[in-house]
């Protein structure tokens, strides 16, 4: 039997090998070999991950760390390349490799007509490697490496269609916004190292209780050191996981190809922040102010993103805001101390959100790269399998299920979060705030998710009568919005650049697209009831084994805090609001089709507010972009008129000016020369006299 450690090394570095092969030699070996190598290695990686996960969950495999190579060693600072295997990393391993493998497969179909396939697959594999390095990190340095690695891959993939101006702008935006978060993250790492003298998680965590209550004096004030570290690290998480204030890049990231959106901007990378907060649960449990900040930020994000999602018309943008909102759920779960619920929601969300994105991708392919839902409708008849998958995904995300009986994946994790928030709310205002927002957002989620499903698959076929792109008259200028992907295929299809119409109705997608949809559908249905006992239920302590603070470890006292049974109305509240959301969506988009459009066209202030994403892009454009420009202009002015004028230009000018003067004195007359000489003598004599006296 092969050693598990070796297998894990293989699982982590396999995608890197694939990326190198496809990236450097893709042109030489051709499309199909590049795709085969990357996809094959990813499926291998996925198989190993599941094997390891099974060993952990059912085989009693203990936590271990494989140390591979020293990375950086300066004085006390030591970092090692390693692979940490515990409950958290096992969970992340299966999430990342499974979604990634399915997305690789899906891309065979989705990117079939794209000329840059080897590059695309290389980026995908590179991303997967970086993500695996991130989740298996045993110290902050490797975590940061993975963090930046996924950021790089995300940048490359958002801008994959680099000839599209909007894609380039979006990739730059993602990169820049993430720099803000990474700045906080790096400061957080510095803080941790300054406090503890180590960045290794296993050395760090036992030290944390001793540091509780320690303060630092800075700018005339005492700061709680742990809270400061927790807050700074959370800033990093905010950037990567698109939380409030740093969320603006995520919707624009939809400019990338849809498989990328599914893999990076829904299932894996954006959840890295949640993963980190859960991993650092020992720290956050001793940094309660930072934890409350996490909770409130998460709650606000979930509400904000859900309201914006109500008014969007681009199918991918709706799902993007939905992702943002669900990430908010995970954060406030972590913020109330329910790290297990946060991780479980991460787990289930990966399944149903990847399903929704890939389903949306399938619709986009069917609609010939049309993304505006106002141009869709009635697709159920033409794309029945996609419709089934999307419906399963929608049920899963809205969390339909009967408490005490069972339901789809989202039901278990979301209800657990809302109940945990309620429990925490009994003695914490932040928790109660999060609880109410969680309930409201559950309703909003149901509304916009069903709205998406109804607009796309039901109702009249808007595409049937010519293909008029709906004018976006009240879209703001600062946002990046193109509503379509470059259609690399239209040349081959021989029916012009027109997408679909009555004579060319949408067709169901090919097998490489449908297989992942099927697998993910199964996951979206089953992930909840199969794994809930391990993540949340009776096997919980045995599953986490201390990987999350207070669960199954030595300090197992906190377990069960959120297992006291909440009142019945709390248990049923999510169900009621999500059914209400469903009914509203059905009323607006099925029964009275066209009503919503009329309402939107009337353009009430609230609709405009949501449609324009609370005007965040405008605000940032005004404050940061225009502000930076204004500062730049001021410096440019100062550079030209002060520094240049007084410095080089002024110096050059005065040199030339004096040169002109000097050459005028050089008149050619001997008596002038003699006069200057005598002046010189007189001057020097005066100087000497002054020196002597």
């Amino acid at each position: 039997m092969v050693n598990l450690e070796t297998l894990l090394v293989l699982a982590v570095f396999g995608p890197l090998v694939g990326a190198i092969v496809a990236g450097l030699f893709g042109k030489r070996i051709g499309n199909v070999p590049s795709q085969t190598v990357t996809t094959g290695l990813l499926f291998l990686s996925c198989a190993i991950s599941w094997y390891a996960f099974a060993r952990h969950t059912w085989g009693g495999q203990e936590r271990f760390v494989v140390e591979l190579l020293p990375f950086i060693q300066i004085g006390d600072f030591m970092s090692t390349w390693s692979i940490r295997f515990d409950a958290l990393s096992a969970t992340m391993l299966i999430v990342v490799t499974t979604v990634s493998a399915l997305v690789h497969l899906y891309s065979w179909g989705y990117m079939a007509d794209d000329p840059g396939k080897p590059r695309f697959f290389a980026y995908l594999s590179l991303f997967t490697f970086a993500m695996l390095a991130l989740v298996t990190a045993n110290d902050f340095m490797q975590l940061f490496f993975g963090w930046e690695g996924v950021g790089l891959a995300s940048y490359l993939l958002i801008g994959f269609w680099f000839h599209k101006a909007t894609a380039n702008a979006a990739s730059i935006k993602a990169f820049v916004v993430n720099r803000v978060g990474d700045f906080g993250f790096a400061l957080g790492i510095f803080t941790v190292f300054a406090m503890f003298g180590t960045i290794r998680f296993d050395e760090l965590f036992p030290l944390i209780p001793s540091m509780a209550g320690k303060t630092w004096h800075f700018i005339g004030q005492d700061w709680s050191a742990l809270n400061l570290a927790g807050f700074l690290l959370f800033v990093g998480a905010c950037g990567k996981s698109a939380q409030f204030f740093l969320h603006t890049w995520l919707p624009d990231a939809m400019e990338g190809p849809t498989p990328v959106s599914a893999l990076i901007h829904a299932a894996t990378m954006v959840t890295a922040g949640v993963y980190m907060v859960c991993l650092l649960s020992p720290l956050y449990e001793h940094a309660l102010i930072a934890r409350d900040i996490v909770c409130i930020t998460g709650a606000v994000t979930s509400l904000f993103a859900a309201t914006v999602g109500l008014a969007q018309n681009d199918i991918k943008r709706v799902i993007a805001y939905s992702t943002c909102s669900q990430l908010g759920y995970m954060f406030f779960a972590a913020g109330v101390g329910a790290y297990d619920a946060a991780m479980f929601h991460l787990f289930t969300h990966a399944a149903f959100k990847a399903l929704l994105f890939l389903g949306a991708g399938s619709v986009i392919v069917g609609m010939h790269h049309e993304q505006d839902m106002r141009g869709m409708g009635g697709l159920r008849k033409y794309m029945p399998l996609t419709f089934a998958a999307m419906t399963i995904g929608t049920i899963a995300i809205t969390g339909l299920g009967w408490p005490g009986v069972g339901g789809f994946a989202g039901f278990y994790s979301k209800d657990a979060i809302i109940e945990a928030a309620y429990a925490a709310g009994q003695h914490n205002n932040a928790g109660m705030f999060a609880f109410w927002i969680g309930v409201i957002v559950a309703g909003l989620t149901a509304y916009y998710s069903w709205r998406l499903a109804f607009m796309t698959f039901e109702g009249s076929k808007k595409w049937a009568h010519g293909h008029a792109h709906v004018a976006d008259d009240h879209a703001s200028h600062a946002q990046i919005e193109s509503h379509s992907e470059p259609d690399a295929s239209h040349d081959d299809h021989g029916h012009g650049h027109h997408g679909v119409d009555e004579h060319h109705p949408p067709k169901e997608s090919p097998a490489p697209i449908l297989i992942p949809l099927f697998v993910l559908s199964v996951a979206a249905i089953a992930a909840g009831f199969v794994f809930a006992p391990y993540f949340l239920g009776e096997h919980q302590a045995d599953y986490w084994r201390g990987a999350i603070y207070g669960i199954g470890g030595e300090g197992a006292h906190a377990a069960g805090e959120h297992h006291e049974h909440p009142p019945q109305w709390v248990v049923f509240a999510p169900l009621v609001v999500s059914v209400l959301g469903l009914l509203f969506a059905a009323w607006f988009y099925l029964v009275k089709e066209g009503l919503a459009k009329r309402l939107a066209d009337n353009g009430g202030p609230l609709h405009s507010f949501f449609y324009n994403k609370w005007f965040f892009d405008e605000l940032y454009d005004f404050v940061f972009v225009k502000g930076a420009k204004a500062i730049g202009d001021a410096f440019k002015w100062a550079d030209k008129n002060l520094i240049d004028r007084l410095g080089p230009d002024g110096f050059a000018w005065s040199s030339l000016f004096s040169a002109g003067r000097l050459s005028r004195i050089q008149s050619g007359y001997v008596y002038h020369y003699a006069f200057v000489m005598l002046l010189g003598v007189a001057g020097l004599l005066t100087f000497a006299f002054w020196l002597v006296s």
Binding site: S655, Q666, Y673, M677, A688, V692
Partner: protein, 476 residues
Amino acid sequence: MLELFNHPAAPEAIIAIAALVLLPVGAFVGNARAALISFLGILVLVAAAIVAGSNQLGVLFNGAFVHDDFAAFAKVAIFLASAVAIYLGHGWLARRDDEKFEFPVLIMLAALGMSMMVSAGDLISLYIGVELQSLALYVLAAFRRDEAKASEAGLKYFVLGALSSGILLYGVSLIYGFTGSLQFADISAAVAGGAGTGAVFGLVFLICGLAFKVSAAPFHMWTPDVYEGAPTPMVAFFAAAPKLAAMVLFARAMDAGFLGAQAQWSQVLMVIAAISFVVGAVGGLVQKNIKRLLAYSSIANIGYAILGIAAGTQMGLQAMLVFMVLYMVDVTAFFAVIMALQRNGQEMDTIESLRGLKREKPGKAIVLTILSLSVLGMPPFSGFWAKYYVFKAAIGAGLWPIAVAGLVASVVAAFYYLRIIKVMWFDEPVSPAGPSRAGPSWVAMAGAAFSFPLVLVALYWLDPLARHAAAAFGLQ
């Protein structure tokens, strides 16, 4: 017989006798044999250089004549530079069918004067040396007496030189009055405890007189006009050996005669250096004539050499010697290129006329580029090392403000050297004016070769020699 050559004054005797013999000989054989006289003059100067480098050191004529390491170093350089000047000048005159046998004789007399200057042990021998050299130079400046400009240059040089001699003599009389002696050794003893106001006044007059000879500002006014008007080979000579002689004399007067007043003369020299930096760097910016440009360049460069003396240390003297030797090579080679270039029978001595030179004469253009970069002070060319020595010495002596001023000046001056390069390489040639012709210029090429790779080898020898020479005054 050989013992005679070992005598401390042997080089001077050789040159004096040779000059006095060659003059009547030349008068008999006429200008047609000028080449022979020139050849003999070169031989004599080279021989004098060998003797000066190897003869016995000593003090003669009651201390009026001092032959020490410092003087020996300078004499070798001066004689060799004078020999090169004869070679260059004879060729230049020959190309114009204007060979004259007086030319080598005058150079030899000037060399004799310079030799006296560097060995001056009292104020009288100082004055004699200066006048002997100057009178020869006045004549050389007006050597082509048919040319109005050359005559004007010679006359201006003479009149202003006379004025400076007057200033110098006035200073000598003041010094004699206040210290009671003309000998540097006695003066040094008299001012050992600090000089009085009268002696310092005399010193300042002396400095002003010497500053004229090295063309330091504000006594530089003659320089641009004389450089422009005088025949190019004469200017090439003016710019090299006499400058070194005057600087060495300067150093000897200050360090051997007035060490006790160092606090005063150091300050005065710094002022002169600073004014020279400014005038030399700024004045060159608007010049159109290369010879005039080089006049300003030499004013600025003398500022650096004076900075070395102002440092008042052995390192400073060493820096001055190294600087002057490297500068002499550069400037001689620079003029050699100008002399070699001709268009329509005219010297190409304006910057405009160098336009597009790289197409017509790529070799000359490369040589001129190297020399420009060197004078500019671009590493690794010799000009850089020259300035490096000076700045190191100045900063070592705590004179960093003036060193900074020197650096700034060299940045400003870089403009006009770079402009020469730009004009040669990037401007369109002046085609209709007729093709340019070039004379032989191995001196220029040798100078260019010296300024980059050879300088590194040369410094290996020059550095200890200059240090040894500078040790003659026993400074720290």
